[in-house]
């Protein structure tokens, strides 16, 4: 429950953690002192028949201690939060840096939700862990210890009762806790199943309505809620037993102490003040242990979150180049030689020895069915992944030896579905060059044939897009990516033609923009249109992770291969 690796992180905040523990210790000490003065006051008045005037100094002590205790509690919480804040901020920085260093291959869409959840909710779960659970563990260790040290000189027997019953609580908590935890997990699963069913019905509401079955669902929802309630309550009846044992141990021990000292008091084997002192402290002794039970969940949640966070941090990063990186090249003759890539630890081959060359200034079209390896080649050139074997050279220098940032600065990338940030249109285009003037941004948008639709938006270039703003169509998003590429003005272009959300009118605009962008630049096109393909200097036909054939349009038609077959089939159909 105290994850050692997580606890080591508190080194970042050792001062505030020490102060948290000190505050906890002080709270324990003040509690003992308060019990001492309270028992003295009551004993003096009750048995020694003293008056208010004579006990006033003692009352003043009590008042002073109460303020000291409040101060200790207050500062304890402040320091605990500081510890939590330091650790959280440091871990979040590391997590973000690590995830971004792992790159798009790691954050691919099916995993992105989980990653974001870990970075937000996971890290915040550590808040309760460090600000509540860890201090409570410290309190549960220190406060009872302090109390028992002072109870022993007063009354050995009561001290023994406390000392012997105290371990029962954590032992039972762990014993039942592990069973109960499993049951609590089960309970949460069943609760979330109930929510899942409700979501299922809401998502399918239109379908139900079409089938005329929607109103019948009211009864189903009620029935399923009842069924889940019964199942969950059966689980809870066991899960709550841990709390029962915890309470029982604490209250029964207090009762035992009360009776035991009461009887010895009767036979004058203990003084009244000492007896009262012990009685006041008995519930205080168990209080931190009981609170620990209440914080159990924060501990579990924190440990679970830590596991997910460390799993991400433990994913190894790609190796940096061994020698000092070379500067970016001037000429963009790019050669792939026998390049092999396989995903999922080599079990899913993507490229099986691919070789081809893009000469400086040339446009090369990559053609092939989906899954042939076209995007993998783009990702290799963008250096999101590295080949397992084979080599890629640029102007004769191995790609992996080039300075990463300098190389990427030379690439204009137009993906099928560019990511649009939760920001304005201007900010989204400026991603490519934050220092660009607004005239530059407009010029880039105009070249990308994006100006017309941008100006039709409610706030023009200042319209916010993304989650909280306007949504753009696929064709519009791609034209924003084109505008980014124009603004970046990089010598090498990687372009992935869209296959979805087609609209013939946008198609023509994108083609015109694309032609302008490719002029005087080196380019790799992932092509899906015949007019794009026929316009390329060279066509590379990929099939099953290898180059099936390559050459110009005329050369390939002369070869009567796959390309020839597809092209003729298409021509014949029109």
């Amino acid at each position: 429950m105290l994850n050692p690796r997580l606890i080591r992180k508190t080194r970042l905040a050792s001062v505030s953690l020490t102060l948290t523990i000190a505050a906890s210790f002080l709270t324990g000490a003040v509690t003992v002192a308060q019990a001492h003065f309270l028992s003295r006051i009551i004993a003096s008045v009750f048995l020694a028949h003293q008056t208010l005037a004579t006990v006033t100094p003692l009352l003043l002590w009590l008042a002073a201690l109460s303020i000291l205790r409040a101060g200790a509690v207050w500062s304890g919480q402040i320091f605990a939060q500081r510890t939590a804040g330091r650790v959280k901020a440091a871990l979040r920085d590391r997590l973000v840096a690590h995830v971004m260093a792992l790159g798009p291959q790691f954050t691919r869409t099916e995993r992105s939700g989980e990653l974001i959840n870990t970075a937000v909710e996971g890290i915040e779960a550590l808040d309760a862990y460090f600000s509540q659970y860890v201090p409570q563990v410290a309190a549960a260790a220190l406060i009872p210890l302090t109390i028992v040290i002072f109870v022993f000189p007063n009354d050995v027997l009561s001290g023994l009762v406390l000392l012997l019953t105290a371990p029962i609580i954590p032992v039972f908590m762990i014993l039942i806790g592990s069973i109960a935890e499993e049951m609590t997990q089960k309970q949460w699963r069943s609760l979330s199943r109930m929510s899942a069913h409700f979501l299922d019905v809401l998502q399918g509401l239109t379908t139900l309505k079409l089938l005329g079955r929607s109103r019948a669902q009211v009864k189903t929802i009620a029935d399923i809620s009842d069924r889940f309630r019964d199942a969950t309550m059966a689980v809870l009846r066991v899960a709550f037993l841990s709390a029962l044992v915890l309470e029982m141990a604490a209250t029964l021990s207090t009762a035992v102490v009360a009776v035991e000292i009461g009887v010895r008091l009767l036979y004058a084997k203990i003084a009244f003040q000492q007896a009262l002192f012990v009685l006041i402290l008995a519930p205080e002794f168990y209080q931190p242990l009981r609170m620990l039970g209440a914080r159990f969940h924060a501990g579990m949640a924190g440990t679970a979150a830590a596991k997910r966070i460390f799993a991400i941090l433990d994913t190894p990063l790609p190796k940096p180049p061994p020698t000092p990186p070379k500067p970016a090249p001037r000429r963009f003759t790019i050669a792939l030689e026998n390049v092999r890539v396989a995903f999922d630890d080599g079990t899913r081959p993507a490229l099986n020895g691919v070789s081809f060359t893009i000469a400086d200034g040339e446009t090369v079209a990559l053609v092939g069915r989906s899954g042939a390896g076209k995007s993998t080649i783009a990702h290799l050139l963008l250096r999101f992944i590295a080949p397992q074997s084979g080599i890629i050279t640029v102007d004769g220098a191995p790609l992996h030896q080039l300075d990463m940032a300098a190389w990427r600065a030379k690439i204009g990338w137009v993906p099928q579905m560019p990511y649009l940030f939760d920001a304005t249109i201007v900010e989204n285009i400026k991603l490519a060059n934050p220092a660009a003037s607004s005239a530059d941004v407009r010029r880039a948008a105009r070249l990308a044939h994006a100006e017309a639709f941008i100006e039709a938006l409610p706030r023009g270039y200042d319209t916010r897009i993304g989650e909280r703003g306007a949504r753009l169509s696929g064709g519009q998003a791609q034209r924003i990516a084109l505008a980014r590429a124009f603004l970046k003005d990089a010598p090498f272009i990687i372009f992935d033609e869209a296959t979805a959300n087609l609209d013939p009118r946008h198609e023509a605009e994108i083609h015109a923009a694309m032609a302008a962008l490719l002029a005087n630049r080196t380019a790799l096109m992932i092509a899906h249109r015949l007019n794009t393909i026929t316009a390329a200097d060279k066509i590379v036909v990929l099939d099953g992770g290898t180059v099936r054939e390559s050459g110009s349009h005329a050369e390939l038609l002369a070869q009567s291969g796959l390309y020839h077959q597809l092209f003729r089939a298409f021509q014949g159909a029109i």
């Binding site: 804040g85 973000v96 970075a119 379908t207 309505k209 669902q217 009767l266 939760d422 934050p434 089939a569």
Partner: protein, 586 residues
């Protein structure tokens, strides 16, 4: 009615459970008070060295309270959870019944993003409403009552002082906390939302960030937000720590107040000294009841905010209403659309801008166009999900609006892209369209949809559970089940609404063949942006920006050129390259 009162009405039928939960919570704290009071009594009395018989009753009391506290706590937790589950069940039923008439018009705005799961989260947030929001104040009131009675039996000033401090701790501190933390609390929520957005950008947009060399800028932005959040949370800790410190302080001052009042009474002989310790320890124990109140205030605020969002969703008038005197259900599937104009809101541009066409009984008509051309709007109007104001749609010669919406929908079988398959067995999913269908009818529909062999190959056949928590089906299998379900309904008008969108082109081709077979002789409207199997249509309408741009058969439209031919050419190229197989061409 205020949100709070409206939410409380859901508790009204659970009055008995609520009372029981409050009583058990009271008994739990009461046991502590009893335990400490009797314990204090025992040792005070014992100090006077009476015979052991004088202590017997008190000893029994101590043992009794020592045992009962745990038991009461256990029972209380069971009862509060029982109450909560019943409350949630009621609320779900209420919410569903309220949103059902509003669907899908009202849900349309919630489909994007994960707002639908926000609804779910808000309903779940009501879990805290009773357990942490309503029950603790009830328990605190009962305990305060007990304390008053106990103290007042000795002296009124004692009761007044104790109650005063309890009220200060139970009401004053929650109010103070809320006041102090409101601004930083809100700021922290906003920072957290901004941080969330930046993290989403960093994870989902990582490729664009890396390529444009913006990695350290994005990291710096996140680091800054993260630091701001920590600073705001530190400020909140000041308030929360103050809250804990003040509650403890008030508890200690209650002790002081009792001593200040009781000591002179003992000296004057108005109070037996035996009870001095009893009063002090009982008051300390009673404070347990007010400890959860500051947190209860926060939970109540959270539940109320969640409930307000939910009420807001369902508190609107439905888009369509059935006529007072509806026509009997239509008989013939003849459909005439005359000059229909429609926009989703008064300010929005028209989604349909003067559409006219007819579908004769038994005819096959396709409505095609790019996304945003108005195709799905037309389906929404035909299915009576939205009301149109301009033009008319005639079914069997009479206006659609004069029938009952249910009768119109019963007349149509729909296979759509978003056909929802429920997390239930295949048989249950199919029977949704006709609950009384026999097994033979089920199998016959599945055979026609060419999915029977697949279902039979599953270990549990028609009893296989599908959906998120069951068997994951491929896109093609899902659509075939949707087709079987539509066939089982056996309605006169078949509407295929993007029925093969997002399928692999080869799978699409197979399913289109199935659809062609089943639509033979049936009045069928095919709505699609994918121009597949168009030669089988009697008429094709090309929608563009809410208007019919062209109409005719496939051969006519291809010969004429224009937008139809462009769309077709574009798609063929992509399909050909995506599949690498000339077989995709007609």
């Amino acid at each position: 009615m205020s949100t709070a009162r409206r939410l409380l009405t859901f508790l009204a039928p659970l009055r008995g459970w609520v009372a029981l939960a409050a009583l058990l919570g009271f008994a739990t704290v009461g046991s502590s008070v009893g335990l400490m009071a009797t314990s204090a009594y025992i040792i005070s009395k014992a100090a006077l060295h009476p015979s052991i018989a004088a202590l017997q009753v008190a000893i029994v009391g101590v043992r009794f309270f020592g045992i009962t506290r745990g038991l009461f706590r256990y029972a209380e937790r069971l009862v509060t959870h029982q109450t909560t589950f019943r409350l949630l069940a009621q609320f779900r039923v209420f919410f569903f019944a309220a949103i059902e008439p509003l669907a899908p018009a009202r849900l349309r705005q919630f489909r994007s993003g994960d707002l639908l799961s926000r609804i779910i989260a808000d309903v779940s947030a009501l879990e805290d409403f009773f357990v942490r929001g309503v029950a603790p104040p009830l328990v605190a009131i009962l305990v305060a009552g007990l304390t008053w009675v106990l103290m007042a039996s000795f002296a009124l000033p004692l009761a007044a002082a104790t109650l005063g401090f309890l009220a200060l701790a139970g009401i004053g501190i929650p109010l103070l906390t809320r006041r102090l933390s409101r601004r930083s609390g809100r700021a922290a929520v906003e920072t957290r939302a901004a941080l969330n957005v930046s993290l989403v950008d960093a994870v989902q947009g990582v490729a664009d960030i890396l390529i444009h060399g913006r990695k350290s800028a994005q990291q710096g932005h996140i680091r800054q937000l993260s630091r701001t959040l920590v600073a705001q949370q530190n400020r909140l800790a000041w308030v929360n720590g103050l809250n804990a410190a003040l509650t403890g302080l008030l508890s200690n001052w209650t002790t002081l107040a009792i001593l200040l009042i009781a000591i002179p009474m003992v000296s004057a002989g108005d109070l037996d000294g035996v009870f001095l310790a009893v009063l002090v320890l009982a008051a300390i124990a009673a404070f347990e009841a007010v400890l959860p109140l500051p947190e209860a205030a926060a939970h109540l605020a959270g539940s109320l905010a969640a409930a307000e969002r939910l009420f807001e969703i369902v508190d609107v008038a439905p888009q369509i209403q059935d006529p007072a005197e509806p026509l009997p259900p239509p008989q013939s599937a003849r459909l005439d659309v005359r000059n229909v104009r429609f926009s989703y809101s008064p300010t929005a541009p028209p989604a349909l801008d003067g559409i006219s066409f007819s579908v004769a009984e038994g005819a096959r008509v396709a409505i095609v166009g790019a996304s945003g051309a108005g195709k799905s709007t037309l389906v929404n109007l035909l299915l009576r999900f939205w009301d149109y104001r301009h033009g008319e749609i005639l079914l069997d010669g009479r206006d659609l609006r004069r029938y009952r919406a249910d009768d119109v929908r019963a007349f149509m079988a729909v296979v759509s892209q978003q056909t929802h398959l429920f997390n239930a067995t295949i048989a249950e999913n199919l029977r949704l369209s006709r609950p009384a269908a026999t097994d033979d009818e089920l199998i016959s529909a599945a055979r026609q949809a060419e999915i029977h062999t697949f279902i039979q190959s599953l270990p549990q056949g028609y009893d296989t559970v599908i959906g998120e928590q069951g068997l994951q089906l491929s896109g093609g299998e899902r659509q075939r089940l949707a087709i079987a379900r539509a066939l089982l309904k056996d309605a006169p008008l078949l509407i295929l609404d993007e029925a093969t969108a997002n399928l692999d082109p080869l799978v699409e081709r197979d399913i289109m063949a199935t659809l062609r077979a089943i639509s033979a002789g049936r009045t069928t409207i095919t709505i699609t942006h994918r121009l597949v199997d168009m030669a089988a249509m009697d008429e094709i309408l090309v929608l563009d920006a809410g208007k019919i741009a062209a109409r005719g058969t496939h051969a006519e439209l291809m010969a004429r050129g224009g937008i139809y031919r462009q769309l077709w050419t574009q798609q063929r190229q992509i399909d050909l390259l995506e599949t690498g197989s000339p077989a995709i061409l007609p």
